[in-house]
Every structure is written in C-alpha cells, then in structure tokens.
C-alpha cells in the first residue's frame, strides 16, 4: 500500500485519533487532563517517548524477524518500552533538570500508557518503514496532545460550572470525550 507521509500523519493525528477513535491512553486522558499546563507537558512527554519507543519498536521488529521469533514481540516491546522510559528519565535528569522538573513525574506513568504500546503494535502491523514509523509516532503523539489539551481546557471550565452532582468526576469527562470523538469524525476522509 502506498500511504503518503502526510496521510499517515493526518490519519494518526486527527482521523483516527489515538484517544478519541482508538481509546488508547484513556487513563492519562482522564487522569492528567485537569489543568492545561499539566496536560500540555504530559502531551510533550508522551510525544517524546512515542518517538523514542517507535524507533526501538522498529529495531526490535527487524531483529525478531531476523531470528524468526514473532512470539517474543509483545514481551520485548513492553520490556524495551519500560526500560527506555527509565533510561530517558535518567538522561533527562542528568542533562536537563529543568525539563526533568516539567516532565519528570509523568515519565513513570507513561510506561503503562497503552498508547505507547499500541503505537508500537500498530506500526508493526501496518508494516511501516523507518520514516513512516517516525511520522506515525509524531502524528499519534500530536493527536494525543491535542485531545488532552482540549479536554483540559474544557475541564477547567467545568470546574467552575453548575454541573449536577451525579455527573461530576469521570462521567462528565466521558460525555465530553464522546462529543469530541463525534467532532473529530468530521475529519474523516482527510488526507487521502
């Protein structure tokens, strides 16, 4: 299949947004979207880790193909992602304390963010080459960040709203996510 890079990006970012169409990374989407500043930093962290783990996943996939052991895919993905995140955390801590302060607390959370693992699995399943994988990771990360920040903006408004007592908490977030998901359906067919 010939998928242009722009199509891959738009598809991962808007049309099939990881959060709103694939339900990946819902936990941080609900957990870290209370405040715009936090949300955008989290988005940045996720985007960064996505890029790194996309590269790793590409390498692992090549290696597993070479030794013909597809059954090790999942286990090596999760192990590598977890250790990459640790490594990234240490590197950032060492070289940019400012960045670490901004992203630090989110990095461990990202390990169990299914969007990262999902990205690795999808790019492998779709058979993307190296550049395509990078673009895909970038698009997915951008899409995740967009959804997260929009949600944070709305939630900051909802914090000072007269919402009925029963909907406060996760219920109203899910309702907003539903409407957002419908809104993103407007992008369908873009980039073809």
């Amino acid at each position: 299949m010939n998928e242009s890079l722009s199509y891959i990006f738009i598809n991962a970012c808007l049309v099939n947004n990881f959060v709103l169409a694939y339900f990946l990374g819902i936990c941080p989407f609900i957990g870290v979207s209370g405040n715009i500043g936090t949300a955008s930093r989290m988005g940045g962290a996720v985007m960064f880790v996505m890029l790194v783990s996309s590269i790793c996943a590409y390498g692992i996939h090549l290696m597993l193909e070479a030794i013909n052991a597809p059954f090790l895919q999942l286990i090596s993905f999760i192990v590598v992602i977890a250790s990459t995140v640790q490594l990234v955390e240490m590197i950032i801590k060492k070289f940019s304390p400012a960045l670490f302060r901004a992203l630090g607390i989110f990095l461990p959370l990202i390990t169990t963010n299914c969007a990262i693992l999902g990205l690795a699995l999808f790019q492998t399943a779709k058979g993307y080459n190296f550049i395509e994988s990078l673009v895909y990771a970038l698009g997915a990360g951008a899409g995740f960040t967009i959804a997260l920040v929009i949600m944070a903006g709305i939630r900051e408004d909802l914090d000072i709203a007269d919402t009925p007592k029963v909907v406060r908490g996760t219920a109203i977030i899910l309702m907003v996510a539903g409407i957002l998901s419908l809104t993103f359906m407007g992008f369908a067919g873009l980039g073809g």
């Binding site: 914090d159 000072i160 709203a161 007269d162």
Partner: protein, 350 residues
C-alpha cells in the same frame, strides 16, 4: 447606629474661626506647602478622600513632569466639579501654583468633559499668562473621571499595574481639591465645608449645596426635600456610591454627592440573576480590559487565587461598568469587592 464621633460645641465658647498661619506660595518651600495642606486637612474631594499631602509627596526615586487637574465629574448625576470650575477659577489657578511648587511638575493640563463648554471657556479666559496650563476636552464617558482613565486619555500613558500615577510621571488632583488648596492656604484655614450635589428622582430641589462637614444627612435632605417614594439614599454617585441605612450618618469630606432613588429605579436594579452567558459585554465595558465574566464565574466558585494571579483582580477599581451592562444581572463588582477583601485578609494573616 453608625459609628461616628459626635461633637457638641462648648456653650461658653466664642464660636469664632481661629485662623492658622498663612502659607504664601512665593515664599514657602515645597515641604512647607505639603505641611500646610496637611494642616488644612485637605483630602481628595472627588470621592475617594485620599489625603492630598500624601499624594503630593513624590517619592525620591520618582519625578513628576505633568500635573493633571481632574475636572471630569467622577460619576453621572454629580455636578460639583462643574460648579467649582464656573465659580472658583481664581482659587483653582492659585491652587495650581501651590501644587506645581510642591511637586516640581513643569506643566499643567486641566481635563474637562467635552460637553462642558462653558467651564472650558471660562477657565481659558481666566488662565494667568505665567502658568504653563493647557485645558483639554475629553470624551464624555464613564469612568473618564478615574485617575487612570484620565491619564491615558490626556497623555496616552498607562499607570503600571499596582503602581501610582507618579510611576508614569504625573500626578492627578481633583479640581475641587485644587480650588480648596488655593482658597484655604493663603488664609491659613482648615477645611470645614464642601459643596455636595443632592439629586436623584427622590429629591424635590435638586442642586449643589455648600454644606458644613459633619451635618447629618437628615438635615441636608430636609433642606432639599424628599419625595414620598424615596427608598434608597446613596453617598456618592450611582455607580460607586454606598447606600446608607440611617439618615443620622454625617456628611464627610469624601461625600461628593447624595443621590436619592425611588421605588421605580430600585425595582429596575433588582432583577432575576441568570448564569453568565458569555455575551462579552462586560469585557467591552471594562475600562482596564479585565475579564469580569470569567472572574465572576471564578468568584462564584471561590477560586480567589486564580482571580488574583491570572486575571489581575487587584487592578479592578470597582467602577461598576461590568455590573451595569451585565444582561444576566450578576453583581460582578460586589463579587470582586468580596474577593479582594478575602485576598487582603489572607495576605494580612500570612
């Protein structure tokens, strides 16, 4: 009962005015002039009653190049400044001489609303040639009489957030205050009376009255005559004034007007409150470009910290424009006053 100090004259006293030492503009030093103003007890007569000698004492690290005489009525309904400008021109110019000397400013601008042509003309005619004074007409709109607004209108300068007019090189004095300085200082007297606008739909004889400070409202209003349906008596103007619960309240130096409203106006201001619909009328109305809509919502949910830190709550000078235009009848200014009070208390406690 309102907290007041009641003075009774000593029956055996002669009841004569005992003048102090006169202060001559030619011979006095700036410090002496400021001292004389303090002795005379002169405060801002526009309504804020801020001690004038404090205002004129320019901090050492700042300098002032322009003196602005505020001839703009601070609120609708009030006309005292207008009367002063028509009747006390010489006192005004004498006062300017004192203030110029006290502050070291080099030029004077008198700002007057454009619809008061008579005041502009009469001041221009009587302006002494040796004074660097210009008279400028400004647009008629509320709250043009606020210090910050007038500075921006005349000089295109802005007073920094949390700062004073001296921070942008000017000092603003109300025209009535200036006149009082010019009238009292040469004689060495203190301030014992002021002119007050008594007006409103609930008053029979509307007009400007010269009333001794300390007179109970009851007495002043009896002279002007109250209508039967009067319900609300306001010290000051309609936008920023305070209602009083008792007519035993005395007139103070800061009382620029007495406004009496009737049932009719009361009802029109007590209307059902809706939720904010984000019409943005208050943003358009706010003279200093705050976001009253958002702050109102934040105040309702007691998020005072955010109001202060992200929305510049403390810059609000409570002009009341936002509450006036709000179609949802949200008492925005009231919310802001409460919020400011709470924040100040918190800071004081910390």
């Amino acid at each position: 009962m309102v907290m007041s100090i009641f003075l009774e004259p000593f029956p055996a006293s002669g009841q004569t005015v005992d003048p102090g030492a006169p202060c001559k503009v030619d011979s006095a030093t700036p410090a002496e002039i400021i001292n004389a103003i303090q002795e005379a007890g002169i405060v801002g007569l526009g309504g804020a009653a801020f001690p004038t000698h404090v205002k004129l004492k320019i901090p050492k690290d700042k300098s002032v190049d322009t003196l602005i005489i505020n001839g703009v009525e601070c609120e609708p309904y009030l006309t005292t400044d207008h009367r002063v400008m028509l009747e006390q021109q010489d006192d005004i110019f004498m006062g300017i001489r004192y203030i110029l000397k006290a502050t070291g400013a080099r030029r004077v601008i008198i700002g007057i609303e454009a619809n008061k042509a008579d005041a502009i003309i009469s001041l221009q005619e009587r302006a002494p040639y040796d004074l660097p004074v210009t008279i400028e007409a400004v647009k008629v709109k509320y709250p043009q009489g606020a210090e910050k607004m007038l500075i921006t209108a005349l000089l295109a300068r802005e007073v920094p957030s949390g700062g004073l007019p001296a921070d942008c090189g000017c000092v603003v004095v109300n025209v009535a205050t200036t006149a009082e300085i010019g009238r009292l200082l040469p004689l060495g007297r203190g301030i014992i009376e002021r002119s007050i606008t008594i007006t409103g739909p609930g008053v029979k004889k509307r007009g400007n009255y010269l009333i001794p400070i300390g007179t109970p409202l009851r007495y002043a209003l009896e002279q002007a005559g109250l209508k039967k349906n009067a319900t609300r008596v306001i010290l000051g103007g309609p936008m920023m004034g305070f209602t009083v619960s008792s007519l035993d309240v005395p007139i103070t130096k800061g009382t620029s007007g007495l406004l009496v409203l009737t049932d009719k106006e009361s009802q029109s201001t007590i209307r059902k409150e809706y939720a904010c619909i984000g019409c943005s009328h208050c943003l358009d109305a706010c003279p200093i470009f705050l976001n009253p809509s958002r702050m109102g919502r934040l105040a309702k949910f007691e998020q005072y910290d955010i109001m202060e830190k992200e929305y510049n709550l403390m810059d609000c000078f409570e002009c009341g424009s936002c509450s006036y235009v709000c179609p949802s009848n949200i008492p925005l200014v009231h919310y802001f006053r409460v919020a400011k009070g709470i924040i100040r208390d918190k800071k004081a406690a910390a």
